[in-house]
Symmetry: C2
Subunit: 352 residues, 2 copies
């Protein structure tokens, strides 16, 4: 049964800090009744979050039909902002479930846990996991095409690219599946591994198990995380890369972004250096190549976006596009070609 | 006050599976009274573990003076072997503390926890941690020399190399400090971060904090973990590499080892490929270079060890040695040279 969601973004209603909110609205529009940010009443989500047309409200009481409160941000470190505690307690008191993707688990908070128990509602901590298996490199189907979205920084559109390209594949009649590896992807898909919250010894193994559960599909589009060049999150990124052992990677980046998220004093290295890191590190695990670029062009006007696309295609000799501006056709063709290459090496059994 | 240890290795008394035991005996000889393995009574640790001359015993009752039981193995996955439970409970019953480096925490086991509470003894889970800080790349002293031991596989001697070279530096009058990043290192040093048990988002940050706590020393010798080429543990390895941002790396490998630990069907890639991975990935964070090789020559006779050393020095144009056979002088000289290079770039304040 569909949830009836209010998404909490109080004071943080911008597309980067509230990317969980934006993407749940984008990919689960039928479930979202309102966004809670008392500073933005009268506006809608399309204006502030670049997704949908969901109204902002000031109070939970303004959305009496809602049955679930969803925490709509994912701040560095994952802590619950202090002023939100009252809202969460009010939601519980109104009989709403609460869904959170933060590192700090609602269920481990004595006050929240006791309130939820008393009211009989569910606290769903999407990042909670008990992954305890190391990677084995065994029983991996060589005929499944594994495509990983990688990137030059956090929050550049790796999840969006994987979801959009899965939809494009499916629309073309291909048997493709999106694999979520972060809290927002899991909220959208209902399955996945919260890879950045797995104990580091088991990251590669957790991703390998996720892939094996879904390798009956012809094509897996795996959500990337962070960047090998990100000095804070590279452990997550490499565990994911080696755990899913992609034959193909799609490189995602935001044109015009120059500073590393959360360590802003550090410039982002050139794309060619980061691309080489991914290729070198993928290769040591499994033969792999970059098959195209997904450009996040939100900082560009249409003319600049066209120039950027041409510049990247010229520099790397690979297809590039802005999925929202240009549609998925260019990258879809690259995936279809990679699938055909793999068919020659490892033919896929025909389905009847 | 020094502990009086019995080390449990029942049924696993070989230098690889019981590497925790071997290294605690090697670097804390004054603390170890006996090794508990009922299948090896009459032998000593030098024969089976290549460390010290500690006797094997069959029962805790044979070592009445002991006050602490230390779990001496670190199996993949970190689980407590079922037959050992009775020994742990007996130790608790005898009033002994229990020290463990396993992923499965003694303190989370209801039976152990209750027994320890009742008897008033301490269960020390060395891997337990609450690291929750992301790396910031701020306040890192550029004049501290950070040397990381890296390698081609698990269990090749990265901790041993870091400890031996720290001792060699100190003996030369240099201000050097060993930084432990694994359970055995922490048991030996009493400080450190159990990096493979940190939640993946915080690995880089945990290592960065460890470095900052100790950067008043002129030289840090940081214990490496796993390998960038290890398909199961590479997340840990990269988080550690980026967290400590070494200016210099010492590459450790076991001559003659061809199969990857715990994924034996996979050959270990050539050293030059793995070395390139480390250099490429270090460089994206901070300028860094390999300054020498520490060869683990336990599979070689003296003549083969000499040949191996020459072969590696010729191939890479870098100093190489087997620390146990050849002593530390060659690599010590490389560290001293790296310290001098850094002095030219970032002079270290003179101490009085």
């Amino acid at each position: 049964m569909a949830r009836r969601l209010v998404i909490l973004t109080e004071g943080f209603s911008n597309p980067r800090t509230a990317k969980t909110a934006a993407n749940v609205i984008r990919y689960r529009p039928e479930e979202v009744l309102a966004v809670l940010d008392s500073t933005q009443v009268g506006r809608h989500s399309g204006e502030l979050l670049q997704a949908g047309r969901v109204p902002f409200v000031a109070r939970l009481a303004d959305v009496p039909d809602a049955d679930t409160l969803l925490i709509g941000i994912a701040p560095p470190g994952g802590k619950i902002p202090a002023p939100w505690r009252a809202v969460i307690l009010e939601a519980i008191d109104r009989g709403m479930d609460v869904v959170s993707g933060l590192h700090e688990f609602l269920g481990d908070d004595a006050e929240f846990a006791e309130a939820a128990r008393r009211r009989g509602v569910r606290l769903q901590d999407v990042r909670r996991n008990h992954e305890r298996d190391v990677a084995t490199c065994l029983d991996i189907d060589p005929s499944t095409l594994r495509v990983l979205t990688v990137g030059h920084d956090c929050s550049v559109g790796k999840m969006v690219a994987a979801v959009e390209l899965t939809r494009a594949c499916t629309a073309r009649g291909l048997d493709a599946k999106f694999l979520a590896t972060g809290q927002t992807g899991i909220m959208i898909d209902g399955d996945g591994v919260p890879v950045d919250c797995v104990v580091s010894d088991f990251v590669n193994g957790a991703v390998e198990r996720l892939v094996k559960r879904h390798q009956h599909h012809d094509i897996l589009l795996i959500e990337g995380q962070g960047s090998l060049a990100h000095p804070a999150y590279s452990a997550v990124t490499l565990g994911l890369l080696h755990g899913c052992a992609p034959q193909a990677m799609i490189f995602c980046y935001e044109a015009g972004r120059t500073r590393t998220t959360s360590v802003e004093h550090r410039p982002i290295p050139p794309i060619r250096d980061i691309k080489r890191c991914f290729e070198t590190m993928a290769e040591i695990r499994h033969p792999s190549r970059t098959i195209g670029f997904a450009i996040n062009g939100r900082l560009l006007d249409d003319a600049a976006a066209r120039d950027e696309r041409r510049r990247i295609e010229d520099e790397f000799g690979l297809p590039a596009c802005d999925l929202f501006r240009d549609g998925p056709e260019t990258l879809l063709a690259a995936i279809v070609a990679a699938r055909a290459d793999l068919d020659r090496l490892h033919p896929r059994p025909k389905r009847v």
